[in-house]
């Protein structure tokens, strides 16, 4: 099994064995987060739309392993502003870097970049579509916190219709036979194509409108933010969002091993008081993003 020179476009391109292989290497890298194994390698950091966490995570991952970074964080600073196609941009960029990371507002952009580039391309988010490295770090965090990935009770909460992280996570979890609880306001349910895929692969899932209905049974509660722009009015948003705010008092009867995750940024949906409880795992989760990206870069560049 080899990740060398491999593009990372969507989690669906990876088998269960490959995911477990990657998770093992993330664990290994976590034990040695700084080294020089990527000395002499260059990461092209190509962010056509804003990102803080993902971009800095990739760049830090590369630098901490002895590599270098070049790139941009704003499309306005590139020839895309002059009308250069994404194809031509990556046809040029692959000469300057050994591996390229792309975040772009259009869906399928990472695949197009990978087709144009001889250097491997990692998708850091293509519109509302895929964000595979987020899914890998989510899986690692679940495994780390629960001691396993198989047969867990996992709730996905919030905007399940437009949230790329929950789509990708649900699809990846298929390999591990979870019991899923899909908790969202009416109108923001998990899309039919994801649900169809879950059903076809024999994953049990159910729809709910409140967290309290299921929280005591959960191993993992994966929270996502509900955005105001999804609602017809501010009043509707204000009324609905309060059902999707996790408060400390709701944790009274949860399992001892229960963990709360969130892809961040967290705005209002997790009360700050929860941060000090043993159930909060979202900051460790974010830190695991560094190790996940380090492991991926090292595997893709053939150094692990």
């Amino acid at each position: 099994m080899s990740f060398k020179q491999r593009d990372v476009i969507t989690v669906n391109d990876f088998s269960k064995e490959e995911i477990l292989y990657l998770l093992n290497h993330i664990q290994h890298i976590k034990s040695i987060p700084s080294s020089n194994i990527l000395k002499g390698s260059v990461l092209g950091s190509c962010f056509f739309e804003p990102s803080t966490r993902t971009r800095l995570s990739f760049e830090s991952a590369m630098l901490k392993l002895g590599g270098s970074v070049l790139g941009f964080s704003d499309m306005q600073l590139t020839s895309a502003k002059k009308g250069e196609s994404l194809h031509d941009t990556f046809k040029m960029l692959h000469h300057y870097a050994d591996v390229l990371v792309i975040r772009h507002p259009l869906e399928g952009s990472a695949q197009l970049a990978a087709d144009a580039s001889d250097a491997p391309v990692i998708n850091a988010g293509d519109g509302a579509n895929q964000h595979p490295t987020q899914t890998f770090l989510d899986l690692f965090s679940i495994q780390e916190s629960q001691g396993r990935l198989e047969d867990l009770n996992i709730a996905l909460v919030g905007d399940l219709k437009y949230g790329r992280t929950v789509h990708s996570l649900a699809q990846a979890l298929i390999h591990f036979k979870p019991r899923l609880y899909l908790i969202s306001p009416a109108g923001l349910e998990m899309p039919k194509d994801v649900c169809n895929e879950l059903r076809e692969k024999g994953v049990k899932f159910s729809f709910h409108q409140t967290i309290d209905e299921v929280i005591e049974k959960m191993d993992v509660l994966y929270m996502t933010r509900i955005q105001e722009e999804r609602f017809a009015s501010h009043l509707e948003y204000a009324l609905i969002k309060q059902n999707y705010v996790l408060k400390k008092e709701q944790l009274a009867q949860v399992k001892p091993s229960f963990k709360i995750m969130h892809p961040l940024p967290r705005v209002f949906e997790i009360e700050a008081a929860i941060d000090q409880t043993p159930y909060a795992y979202y900051f460790q989760q974010a830190q695991n993003g560094l190790y996940t990206r380090q492991a991926l870069l090292a595997l893709i560049l053939g150094k692990l």
């Binding site: 194809h87 869906e107 399928g108 197009l112 895929q130």
Partner: protein, 149 residues
């Protein structure tokens, strides 16, 4: 015979009724400057009603037939005619990939913003044909893909 015989050329027969015009558009037959004859809603013993297309002095390659005709009308038959005789006859078959024929119905797909040739992976499922875009990876029914043609 509602549609006259041709001396040399291609006959696309047993087209599902209503699909011939889409096939004409996708094959760009109106731009060929060849004589094209259409029969729409012709009675058929096996199909009830069918469409038929005849194109003079033009041979439809089998690969193109599979990429275009098979998706819209999987049981169509292609006959190549020379001097009023059928010299070659084949039934279309569904390919595994279709490249540069259909547009992706997803308006946010990069293929609708750059001049990238579209590619769809074809998956028959439960009597339906599903097409997955290579770029955005979204899966569509045949109806989604052809409704804008």
């Amino acid at each position: 015979m509602p549609v006259a015989a041709i001396r040399n050329g291609t006959v696309i027969d047993h087209i599902i009724a209503g699909q011939a015009l889409k096939i004409v558009r996708l094959l760009k037959l109106a731009q060929h400057h060849k004589l094209v004859t259409l029969g729409l809603n012709l009675p058929s013993k096996t199909m009830g009603y069918k469409d038929i297309i005849k194109v003079e002095d033009w041979e439809l390659p089998s690969e193109k037939a599979n990429q275009v005709v098979a998706v819209l009308s999987p049981k169509s038959k292609i006959s190549i005619i020379q001097n009023y005789e059928v010299v070659k006859k084949f039934q279309v078959s569904l390919p595994s990939l279709i490249t540069n024929i259909f547009a992706c119905p997803n308006p946010k797909c990069i293929s609708n913003h750059e001049s990238a040739p579209t590619t769809f992976t074809i998956t028959p499922r439960h009597q339906m044909i599903l097409l997955q875009c290579k770029y955005c990876r979204k899966t569509f029914s045949l109806n989604d893909i052809v409704s804008s043609i």
